[in-house]
């Protein structure tokens, strides 16, 4: 293997890892604060993809379509939190899980109802077509765009969580909700905001994925599986763990896919079994 090829696979793996990070960060954030495992996350990703592509074509403006679609998906999850999750806090966590599971049916069937059950190919806007030369090998601009999107989101989340007062409240809420309440902060509002952010990130991940794989009504279910595996490998409730696991998954999928193509579909399971065998609580899990 030449070093050029190696760099090329490495960059592909990184862009894959960044997509996985975009997809799973919302789930990890919502879980770490609310302790709700949001099974409808995959469906939100799908909504982000369909709505994003639709709005970009409707507005014929890339940035506007992107922003409007992800904000709408965010508001959807915030509404779900406000009207549905709130009724179940403090009870058996099983019911929250089942509730989000029920939402999958509604969201997935709604996509089929609006856009039909067929696969839809996505036309890339002009500035995402073509390749650039990196280290003497062609590299798709689309992957660069996704890499940069991931870096921007990562930096934004870091700034939000570490440098703002809201981030401080969120971090404190992850540690101890009762204490935050006792300090006179209305944590329910923070919950709603975090759900909005979770939906926002899901929509963004779905939007990035749409230009990568096209649109299909099955993408919600398959992405949910990816997200869950990544979050478990990273350690449930650990945001950093999910980010690291996403990059590891990207690397594993790209390299296993290159050397053993028939095993590529099982690569994420292989990584999961290895990690859980060594450390059952995941990479950075606290359990």
């Amino acid at each position: 293997m030449t070093s050029q090829l190696f760099v090329n696979i490495l960059l592909s793996a990184l862009s894959l890892g960044v997509i996985y990070f975009l997809l799973s960060s919302g789930f990890a954030l919502v879980f770490s604060l609310l302790r709700v495992s949001n099974f409808s996350h995959g469906s939100l990703i799908m909504w982000g993809a369909y709505l994003g592509v639709y709005l970009v074509e409707a507005f014929s403006n890339f940035t506007l379509g992107l922003v409007v679609s992800v904000v709408i998906v965010g508001f959807f999850l915030a509404l779900v939190e406000y009207f549905l999750f709130r009724r179940l806090y403090g009870g058996n966590p099983l019911f929250e899980l089942l509730l989000t599971f029920g939402l999958i049916f509604i969201l997935d069937e709604a996509v089929k109802l609006v856009w039909g059950a067929a696969l839809i190919p996505v036309n890339k806007p002009d500035f995402l077509k073509g390749t650039v030369m990196i280290y003497g090998e062609p590299f798709a601009v689309l992957r660069l765009y996704i890499l940069s999107l991931g870096v921007v989101v990562c930096a934004g989340l870091y700034l939000l969580l570490k440098k703002t007062k809201l981030g401080l409240i969120i971090t404190a809420g992850i540690e101890n909700k009762e204490m935050v309440r006792a300090l006179g902060i209305n944590i329910n509002k923070v919950f709603t905001f975090v759900c909005w952010l979770g939906g926002f990130l899901a929509g963004l991940g779905g939007f990035a994925l749409a230009y990568f794989t096209g649109l299909s009504p099955e993408m919600g279910a398959s992405q949910l599986l990816n997200v869950l595996v990544i979050v478990v490998v990273g350690g449930l409730g650990s945001f950093m763990g999910a980010a690291i696991a996403a990059v590891i998954m990207g690397l594993a999928e790209a390299f296993i896919g290159f050397y053993l193509p028939e095993m590529a579909i099982l690569s994420s399971f292989i990584v999961m079994f290895i990690v859980l065998g060594i450390k059952p609580s995941g990479l950075l899990g606290e359990v």
Partner: protein
Amino acid sequence: MSMKIYFQRYWAGIVILIILALLPLFSSEYTKIVAMQIFIFGVFAISYDILLGYTGIASFGHAIFFGTGAYVSALMMIKAGYSFWATLPFVIVICALIGLLIGFLTLRFATIYFTIVTLALGQFCYFLLTNALTYQYTGGDDGLHGIPAILQTKTQMYYLALAFLLAMFFIAKKIVSSPPGKTLVAIRENEFRAKMIGYNVLNYRLIALVISGVMAGLAGSMNAAVLKSVFPSFMGAGTTIDVILMTILGGMGSILGPVIGAALVIICQQYLSSYFEWWLMIFGIIFVLVVLFLPQGLIGIFYRLKDKNNTSEQKLKNENYNRFKNHFLGKCFQLFRRQDS
């Protein structure tokens, strides 16, 4: 209890049983197949309910057992020429082993871990089944066909499936009302307290998973025998989703509920899906409403109506009301009497 009291208490069940027993006499072949599917998925849903409703752990890969049972029976009957009954001990042993394996791998974690890992394991098994490597054994996406018939006619198969459901129903009833079954409920309600009393929580959960897995495996091999073919979708996510729908809609934590849920879901699948495509969306809305407002499922409505006058609270209210009434009326009578005299 005398016969009469039994009849008074369970008259609805006895009537339904008689209807089910007479059904094959005047129904079409198609109705029989749908009814058999209901019986088999009823057993599958009961097995899932032992895990979800009584033990409180949500497996999202329960189809692993169902598919394993179906494929073990089918493979042994087609490739090795065993009779159906001879494959059942193998199904039981293999499903129990898989249950132990999954349990040891995942039950140590918090319940949400169990859910996610079983989901991933289910997909893993589905991929294994449809893989090119295992094609020569499992037939890949096409499944296996031409399983020899175990009984001559459809009607006989119908009675076999009905007997299977009834047997499993009463076995499950016995299990959940036995002391270990009560312990499972105690663990579900408060794991920490059960641990402090001295119960080995992991062992009890393992037992529940093994029992549930074996029952699901038997339902799977029954399904293979009825349909005379097996498909990889038996092990797919769709089967798990179906069984979750059945259990939640019917009512978890009661053995009868999942059977009713199975009837509901399968009848809707067979008859409604041809009229409008988005019946799953309506099911989703009902599902969400049930989870929010009716955690005991649709059978909860029935129990609530039946026990309206029997709950201890209501009894107390009635007692107080009677006491008040007697007291008040007594006073009135006293008043009248005094005027009389």
